[in-house]
């Protein structure tokens, strides 16, 4: 006997309300395709492009705890802000982030990355300087490539010293689209 969609949604919401989840996630549709957005009690911990939810939730369960459940409400603030961002009505994200899986250098770089303003670009080398490791431009590139929360942590705003786009975890065409959206590319 099948569970009705209403009952299903009711249970998922109740599980989140009861504070019983390690990780809540949902799929969010954007002009750049469907994203998987995941959050813990501490904040958004993951955004992935072209998600394969089955695999994604296995990884989240291993890293953050097995009480992983798809449920809309904890993701709603991030979803709303992403909508506004893609409609060019929002320039800054105001959601808590959970960066507990990024340690030391990565974390410092991601925190510096969060300060790069909307519509501007910086370089890998510059970000390395700001993270107090001026010779680590290449390592900064690796951190960008593994950015757990793209878009909100704007690794698309980091380009090569000669202005070339270099690379993007979600594919170069998405990097270009984000920079165009922000007016950073003509």
């Amino acid at each position: 006997m099948n569970v009705s969609p209403e009952l299903d949604a009711r249970f998922r919401a109740a599980a989140a309300d009861a504070g019983l989840l390690d990780v809540a996630y949902d799929l969010v549709d954007t002009p750049l395709g469907r994203l998987l957005v995941a959050a813990t009690d501490a904040g958004v911990c993951r955004i992935s492009y072209d998600p394969e939810p089955e695999r994604e939730i296995e990884t989240l369960a291993k890293l953050l705890g097995t009480r992983v459940l798809r449920t809309a409400k904890p993701i709603d603030p991030a979803r709303r802000q992403l909508d506004e961002y893609f409609e060019q009505r929002r320039h800054e994200f105001d959601v808590d982030l959970d960066l507990r899986l990024s340690a030391d250098f990565s974390r410092r770089v991601l925190e510096e990355l969060a300060r790069v303003p909307y519509g501007e670009t910086t370089t890998y080398g510059d970000l390395a300087v700001r993270a107090a490791r001026p010779r680590a431009a290449r390592a900064v590139g690796t951190v960008m490539n593994r950015n757990p929360i793209p878009i909100i942590l704007p690794c698309h705003r980091v380009v090569g010293a000669n202005g070339s786009l270099v690379g993007y975890g979600g594919g170069l065409e998405r990097k270009e689209a984000l920079l165009r959206l922000e007016g950073a590319l003509l």
Partner: protein, 156 residues
């Protein structure tokens, strides 16, 4: 024994939600089954991080569902319970309570088979599905469990 890692709750929930709802709807009727369904999976979620392995998850969730069904039936007003199929619900409670206590020391599979068969009156085919084995294996596990219990209680 092979260790089976505990899966993400999402996967477990999606795999078992329809079976659990069917189980509860047969015992409580569709509308009461809805609250019981939610309670069952909330209880499962509360116990989830204490699970040490993922064997017999279907038997585990059905055992929780059966307990919730009993609690639900108890909470019903008396006239409601009387209207239920000739007090079947009332008869089932002591059977389960006694069995769960007696069966505590049985190996996991036999305990699940005995409790599901004699406590909840589940057919062997369903028990087999719950245990991830066959109808025959479930029958064998239940009867070996019963033999063991008789021995323990000095009934042979």
């Amino acid at each position: 024994m092979e260790v089976v890692a505990v899966p993400p709750f999402e996967r477990f929930y999606v795999e078992h939600r329809d079976v659990v709802f069917g189980f509860l709807a047969r015992r409580l009727g569709r509308s009461a089954a809805e609250d019981a369904f939610q309670e069952t999976f909330l209880r499962a979620l509360r116990g989830w991080d204490r699970l040490e392995h993922a064997r017999h998850l279907r038997a585990w969730i059905l055992t929780i569902a059966a307990r919730v069904a009993i609690d639900t039936a108890r909470k019903r007003p008396a006239e409601d319970a009387l209207a239920d199929a000739d007090g079947v619900v009332e008869d089932r409670q002591p059977a389960y309570a006694e069995l769960a206590f007696l069966a505590d020391e049985l190996p996991a599979t036999e305990r699940a088979a005995v409790v599901l068969r004699y406590g909840y009156d589940l057919p062997y085919a369903e028990i087999g599905a719950a245990l991830g084995s066959s109808e025959d294996a479930a029958r064998a596990a239940a009867s070996s469990g019963i033999r063991r219990l008789r021995k323990k209680e000095g009934l042979t």
